[in-house]
């Protein structure tokens, strides 16, 4: 049986990748996906703990997170579409109408 630490470390790595994606990528859609990755990393952590603790509520929580992530993705995509309609670009670098 794979020890729970391994899942946790994997989740942490995924989370870190997500973070890097958010910080480094310029395309709004990819950033959005990176955020989803972070959410899923958190989810994975939850499931790992749930498995280790033999606790079903963890899994319920994970489902909840999936649902929320879906909603978030929907809203996020809508916003990206809104941006695209205004700017014809989804490049985050160009979103500097407001600063300082």
């Amino acid at each position: 049986m794979i020890p729970v630490e391994n899942f946790l470390i994997l989740a942490a790595v995924l989370f870190a990748i997500g973070v890097l994606g958010v910080v480094l990528r310029r395309n709004a859609l990819i950033v959005l996906m990176s955020i989803e990755l972070m959410l899923n990393a958190a989810n994975l952590t939850l499931l790992a703990y749930g498995r280790a603790r033999h606790d079903a509520t963890f899994q319920a929580l994970a489902f909840l997170v999936v649902a929320v992530a879906a909603a978030e993705a929907a809203v996020g995509l809508a916003i990206v579409v809104g941006i695209f309609r205004n700017r014809h670009s989804t490049n985050l670098d160009e979103l500097t109408l407001m600063k300082h």
Binding site: V31, I35, V68
Partner: protein, 491 residues
């Protein structure tokens, strides 16, 4: 887990708001395309009014704090006080929105539905007694507000604001969620009370990291420095009634959940005190937040953006209250509650004046546009002056009592005197930029011609906010009494 109907009655206000939100959404779907949506605003106000009215019996019922729904939701006066504060913010924003949306031609009924749904999320948030509920509340609230921020579709600023808010917000949500996962994993429970009682937690660094991630996520919601950078952009870009809603209600909800989680889940001394305890972290955040918020606001020529930074600074003052709560104890919650109420009223009012001032898609946010307002629209200028003075903490306004009450509690521990002095120094800086607006309105010659929007709703909102600000400043006794009664949390 049993389902008790009696418990349902305790969350009637929440149900009213949530169902009301859905109702408005449906009604919007069935109403004509070009028809006026003013009646939806009225309906929204009615729903909020009903919810407020329902809070009155709830206040009595919450005399003995307890948790319901298997411990997921707390029933206490703390949450009721905050809920009403949120209603005030939401109600006034709705009043503003009616005229604003019509004037700038993006009138659509979902707006009100989203306000109601966001409000519902906030209500969940301030009552949440469980990490899961917190996450849910935050997401419900945030998603609604993201959409509201981007609701002015023709405005490039609006969609840019929504994008930024959304990206940073969901990033913070992810961090929060990760923190929740870690805390849950190490303590084995999501219930705040049980986390607070859990024996193992303080010895486990993973748990501690989890707590800090949660704190980071919440610090984002209250826009504490350095988690604040989204706020100026989002506040500036969002339609002004939405900005008002964010500044007032989102902040109240954020602080509500922060207070609860710190006290119930992380309230034990080993987590509170010491160099790494949250009281110290909050103190550092408070200093950073106040100072940076105020200093950045100094240089803003866009009044709306200036108020956004001022809102950041006010989060800093509130963090002083959080520190005091760590050091002094439960007493410090009274001032936090009072401050949130006072600040909500004032900030909605001041953003309201900004909303009132623009017309025909032109928001007139530059300070030069405000020159000579005192001569043209004395009443509005007077209202703005009162509200700004309240934000600056000049006596006989709500903001003054808020600060006074807050600093009083902080001073009860001698160690916090420097923090209070920093806060006071910051008030001084803030007065400079608040007075800049007053100066422009009264002392400068009339600038560009203005045609502010005409709406009874907006007028009513401004009158209510201004009168409320003065009332809280002149006779704050009743509000302070209520806030004092509301300090007890479900434990």
């Amino acid at each position: 887990m049993s389902f008790d109907l009696a418990e349902l009655t305790l969350s009637l206000p929440l149900l009213v708001v949530a169902v009301g939100g859905v109702l408005v959404l449906l009604l919007e779907a069935f109403s004509g395309r070009t028809a006026s949506r003013a009646w939806l605003a009225v309906l929204t106000l009615a729903i909020l009014g009903l919810a407020t009215a329902l809070e009155i019996p709830a206040w009595e019922a919450a005399a003995t704090p307890r948790a319901i729904y298997g411990g997921m939701i707390a029933v206490d006066r703390f949450s009721i006080f905050l809920s009403v504060t949120i209603f005030v913010g939401a109600g006034l924003s709705t009043l503003l929105a009616g005229g604003f949306l019509r004037e700038h031609r993006f009138e659509f009924g979902e707006f009100y539905a989203l306000i109601l749904l966001g409000t519902a999320g906030m209500m969940i948030l301030v009552q949440a007694n469980d990490l899961v509920t917190i996450f849910l509340g935050i997401e419900i609230m945030s998603l609604a507000v993201y959409v509201l921020t981007g609701s002015w579709r023709r405005s490039a600023k609006s969609s840019e604001a929504a994008m930024k808010y959304f990206l940073v917000g969901s990033f913070a949500s992810a961090i929060l969620l990760y923190g929740i996962a870690l805390v849950y994993g190490t303590s084995g429970t999501t219930n705040l009370l049980e986390i607070g009682k859990s024996a193992v937690v303080t010895t486990d660094p993973v748990f501690l990291i989890g707590t800090f991630l949660i704190l980071g996520g919440l610090a984002f919601k209250v826009a504490a420095v350095p988690f604040h950078m989204w706020a100026p952009d989002a506040y500036e870009g969002a339609p002004t009634p939405v900005t008002a809603f964010m500044a007032a209600a989102v902040k109240a909800a954020g602080f509500g959940v922060l207070v609860r989680i710190l006290v119930t889940a992380f309230g034990r001394p080993s987590l509170t005190f010491g160099a790494g305890g949250w009281a110290s972290i909050a103190a550092a955040l408070a200093i950073l937040t106040m100072t940076l918020g105020n200093v950045a606001a100094l240089r803003q020529d866009n009044i709306k953006r200036m108020l956004a930074y001022s809102s950041v600074a006010h989060a800093g003052y509130l963090l002083v209250g959080i520190v005091a709560m760590g050091r002094v104890g439960d007493e410090a919650r009274g001032p936090i509650l009072y401050y949130l109420l006072a600040y909500s009223l004032t900030t909605v009012g001041s953003f309201g004046v900004i909303a009132w001032f623009g017309s025909h898609g032109d928001e007139r946010q530059h300070i030069d546009d405000w020159a000579g307002l005192g001569a043209r629209h004395p009443a509005a200028a007077l209202a703005m002056t009162v509200l700004l003075l309240s934000l600056g903490g000049i006596p006989l306004t709500a903001g003054f009592f808020g600060k006074l009450y807050l600093f009083k509690v902080a001073l009860m521990k001698p160690g916090l005197v420097p923090l209070v002095i920093i806060a006071v120094a910051n008030s001084l800086i803030s007065i400079f930029y608040y007075l800049r607006v007053v100066t422009a309105m009264y002392f400068r010659e009339v600038g560009r011609a203005t045609s502010p929007l005409r709406s009874r709703g907006v007028t009513a909102a401004l009158i209510l906010a201004t009168v409320g600000t003065l009332a809280l400043g002149l006779l704050p006794g009743w509000a302070i009494d209520l806030a004092t009664q509301a300090t007890i949390l479900t434990k």
